[in-house]
Symmetry: C2
Subunit: 348 residues, 2 copies
């Protein structure tokens, strides 16, 4: 199935990648990997790559998603003598896709790149929508650009290379897409166990929602903001604990917290019922458990939201649920109310 001309979701990465490589005369093909995707994913595509392809390997992890790693990538691209008709294949999760896409989009003012996401999170979220960038001064994706990839090649085969915790993290975005845009799908999946799914079907549905939203509002002037549901406080929680190695959360684990507290805000503002909130809380606690957030961390977390890209003039704008399966955006929320929402979570 093709849901957008450049997004190819199939169980045959050899075929979709071969077609991409034959679609134009690229002067050089380079694969960006980390030590994990080099070991587990690269062998799954190596057979169809041109024999003279190049490989650039960076260290894995969100904590490596910064300008110093970009400098390493740009340096290796330069040393390989890449010209403007080279193609970069980003083989990995969101970090590889966001950072590799940013490096490609800025090398000689832009060469083409394709995303080959290997995590559920990057398949349903990061690989689609054209948001690229790296973290800066502790702020997520603070330096970056909007640029669509030449192609996104999704194959659930890579999910078999993934630890369970990573699969669960990506599933948070699947749940989010249903919560903000498809009540029927939410009801279908909310009580299911993630071992039960046909991932090809789940991914197609979830990417379809993301594509519909981002195609209608590529640069986040309006509608696209609903994708930020769970992310304002979720990102703040993620960023805060990123600097504390023992407490580090995966992206999905952090936005699961965000969806509960922002669900509480939606109920507080009268958008959803207490029953709706209970359903949301039950679903996320069942899958993700509860994160311990000490009281002394709350102010740093709240303060973090003030630097979020979504805000203007120090007013923090949230995307909230209007009902189960429908979201709004530009909802101003005070620091006091944020504090209350986090206290609610702490009291669960």
């Amino acid at each position: 199935m093709e849901i957008a001309s450049y997004v190819h979701i199939s169980s045959n990465i050899h075929q979709t990648l071969s077609e991409l490589l034959a679609s134009d005369s690229f002067t050089k093909v380079i694969v960006l990997v980390d030590e994990n995707t080099k070991k587990y994913c690269y062998p799954l595509i190596q057979a169809v790559l041109p024999t003279n392809h190049g490989v650039i390997q960076v260290k894995s992890g969100e904590e490596e998603k910064h300008l110093q790693t970009c400098t390493q990538i740009w340096t290796e691209m330069t040393n390989m003598g890449l010209d403007r008709k080279a193609l970069l294949l980003n083989l990995g999760g969101g970090v590889i896709g966001d950072m590799g896409g940013f490096c490609a989009s800025t090398y000689k003012r832009g060469i083409r790149f394709a995303q080959i996401p290997t995590t559920l999170l990057s398949m349903v979220d990061a690989s689609v929508g054209g948001k690229l960038g790296v973290d800066f001064m502790g702020y997520k994706n603070h330096i970056g650009v909007f640029q669509e990839p030449l192609a996104v090649l999704i194959d659930p085969v890579f999910l078999q290379t993934l630890p369970d915790r990573e699969l669960r993290s990506g599933y948070a975005e699947v749940l989010k897409h249903s919560l903000i845009a498809d009540p029927t799908h939410w009801n279908d999946i909310k009580s299911k166990n993630i071992t039960e799914f046909d991932w090809l079907k789940i991914i197609k549905h979830s990417v379809g929602i993301k594509l519909y939203i981002t195609t209608n509002d590529p640069t986040e002037k309006g509608l696209r903001k609903i994708l930020n549901f769970g992310h304002t406080l979720g990102h703040a929680v993620e960023s805060f604990y990123l600097e504390q190695p023992g407490k580090r959360l995966l992206h999905g684990e952090a936005i699961a917290v965000g969806m509960i507290v922002e669900g509480w805000l939606a109920q507080k503002l009268g958008y959803i019922s207490t029953d709706d909130l209970a359903e949301i809380v039950d679903t996320f606690i069942r899958v993700y458990g509860k994160v311990n957030i000490p009281e002394e961390d709350l102010y740093a977390i709240i303060n973090h939201t003030l630097q979020d890209k979504k805000n203007e003039n120090s007013i923090v704008q949230f995307a909230l649920l209007e009902s189960i399966g429908k979201a709004n955006y530009d909802q101003p929320i005070s620091a006091e109310l944020m504090k209350e929402s986090l206290d609610y979570y702490r009291g669960l």
Copy 2:
């Protein structure tokens, strides 16, 4: 006169800047300066800036146009808490415009920026066309993006703040625009002294040529390549001597060399006559004198062209003159011929 809706050329920067600032509700206005434009140019616009505007100051010079300076700019932008509706005014020459535009285009995936060029070079060249970026590993503008500014405000008043050598450097691009696109204008100006000009008129004419070309081919697929006349070997000469403080050339001085040697290539390939070449040589030597290029430097200079963004697969493509006032592009030139052209220059 308005030659494109976002380019405003006038002798009244107070009015054009006031109109820009009133055109939208910017949450914050920041001015990027270096120590020279802070001292000589900033006082000329300060009166019309909002009282709470911010100033970011970087060190002047092409040798400061790199990612470390971007990091300084991004850090100050972050510390000022700039949101996505902030506006950056780049007050300076090409370095400030290219680097400030790149930083704005990548901060939170892009805020708006306006160019207020203060050098002749940046007025007629760098401020128009959307090419932004910084140098990397010794290669000019190696990391960057294509992005049009919200506005370009040009006022010749800033030229009074400029050393003669800088004015002469910018004039090389004026001569280039005529040589590649307007034989009548070339004949008008080729023998004149730069002290005689009505700059408002010269700038309008020159920017008009650049805009016509870049509007018709914004991402350099074809026509735009003619702007590279004089720049393939000119850039190589500029980059090579950039690392040798005593021999450093201004951009226009380097491309004046480039226009002579690439003029020789055009004559060698039979495009222009020996009389045409003599006319070009006389004009550039009269204005810029002759640069001493020792034989031992030639190979490093030629090697530099191989990393140029214009090339594919190690074949060096030149923009050459088809006749006086008309240029072509994608002319493959061998290293041997480049060496001969530089030897011709050395023998003048």
